[in-house]
Symmetry: C2
Subunit: 299 residues, 2 copies
């Protein structure tokens, strides 16, 4: 398999079908790019594109994305529930099999330099690509949003990594970064008691003493008469699904509650499921090269 990188840019348009289609089509027609998904949220007024390719193709995909977005999205007229600072709001690069987080950091820097130079949009590197610790967290970078960015950028701590010292008039600024694949994973509990889900979420999440790469909260599933531990697995290789599942199971049992089921929302890399099979079947010497479809992906 060639070294593939995934790119999941978020753009500030989730309502106007013609704009979303034009942007998707611009990305889709780049040679070597596979556009896997486009999800739009009308209340957020925001769309998420998912595409993959090798580093060169993905970089060209980002270029095509900006070329399509800049004439079509004007943040001065944008409203939506989700915080945003740019017409292209955030461009994360994610390593798939064959590429590393370092490859993605390198690509984020290249893409950032090019976006600034070619389109005049200021660029902030975040997460693994961040130049300083206070710029690592996307929420901190985005704070102030489009409307406050002119002011925020005067602070030397918030000078952009690339590009002009003020926001682009219609496109604002963009965060470009590198991070591991994020799996949205929910575990449903056989109780209506939200406090049980809350307590388990607290037990497993990093913030309050749990696993390093877990974010979690309790959620009510009124229509099912159940509650859910809603989880973001931010690094499934270091904190795997099965370990979190077993921990939730043990914590739930202590409350006399069973796990009814779990669900993966959206996409997951095959490796995350292989790791669960490997764990429970106690597989020895397993490698993904033993999987037929992995061989089919090799070139």
């Amino acid at each position: 398999m060639p070294a593939l990188i995934e790119c999941v840019p978020n753009i500030s348009e989730g309502r106007d079908r013609a704009v979303i289609d034009a942007v998707a089509s611009a990305v889709r027609t780049v040679p070597g790019v596979r556009l896997l998904d486009v999800s739009s949220d009308t209340s957020h007024n925001r769309s998420v594109l998912t595409f993959v390719g090798d580093a060169a193709a993905v970089l060209q995909g980002v270029r095509a994305l900006f070329e399509a977005v800049l004439p079509r999205i004007d943040l001065r007229r944008h409203q939506g529930e989700h915080p945003r600072m740019g017409a292209v709001d955030v461009v994360p690069f994610i390593p798939l099999r064959g590429s590393s987080i370092e490859d993605c950091v390198k690509l984020a820097r290249e893409a950032g330099a090019e976006i600034a130079e070619r389109f005049g949009v200021p660029v902030y590197l975040y997460e693994e690509a961040a130049a300083a610790e206070h710029r690592r967290n996307l929420a901190d970078v985005r704070k102030g949003q489009f409307e406050g960015f002119g002011e925020k950028m005067k602070d030397p701590r918030w000078a952009p990594d690339f590009g002009p010292r003020g926001p682009h008039p219609s496109a604002g600024a963009v965060a470009v970064g590198a991070r591991p694949f994020l799996i949205a994973y929910n575990i449903n509990l056989g109780t209506r008691d939200l406090s049980v889900a809350d307590r388990i979420a607290k037990a497993i999440r990093h913030m309050s003493g749990g696993f390093r790469y877990v974010k979690a909260m309790g959620v009510e599933l009124a229509e099912r008469g159940q509650v859910q531990v809603s989880i973001n697995m931010t690094n499934f290789r270091k904190t795997p699904l099965h370990r979190v599942f077993e921990c939730v199971k043990s914590e739930a049992e202590r409350h006399g509650v069973a796990i009814v089921g779990s669900e993966i929302v959206g996409l997951t890399p095959a490796d995350a499921l292989f790791a669960a099979a490997e764990h429970y079947l106690r597989l020895e010497k397993f490698t993904p090269e033993q999987v037929l479809e992995t061989k089919l992906l090799e070139d």
Copy 2:
């Protein structure tokens, strides 16, 4: 993903590198064919090729295989431990994602008719492609081997499905069939007592009352000081890995023995591992389309 079919022909040459390479190269150069593996066994004097493609490409791969094998392998001079009736001994077609066992039965008939007509080799359809129950089992079809086939073919019950009523002088006869993917799966037990592995093998295999799609036997692993339940999973969709694993675990516990590990020998379809992950993580509404790599295989 296009409808892919796997073909795993066995040829009666496992020693002469030049012959094996020439045959592999003939298959590899067919457009649309991916040659995934070539395994040769010198004591069996036999090689197994694994290749995939759509039905048309795989059929052309089989044609190329015969063209390369017929001038190079002469069964009159062949010796090896493994029973065989042909220079190309057996040609099984196996459905991968997107194709069905019915597609493979159809392809086996097409391939059989063509092999007989083009190369003058008598063809026996076996397993799912068999025309009668007594011709389903490959061992029964092959009985008598190359040396006895002239006599065997005089029996009307053993007239070929396609081709002449006598063996090809140097290439004998060939079995062409359709079957599900076979997973070689071994479970290692924390004891030196072979009788425990034997009893568990007996408990899980179809023949003696176990699972419909399991063949199993006990094996000694002298160097590890353990024993093994060595399993052929002949239909992992109907008898899945995790169900067999849990049954072996429970039977072993009854003897006070633990499962040390398990191993998949050779290749497995991703679906077999996804099913295990789905079972143990109690996944709801999971589909293989949620797996990133599956999307990458779609065309």
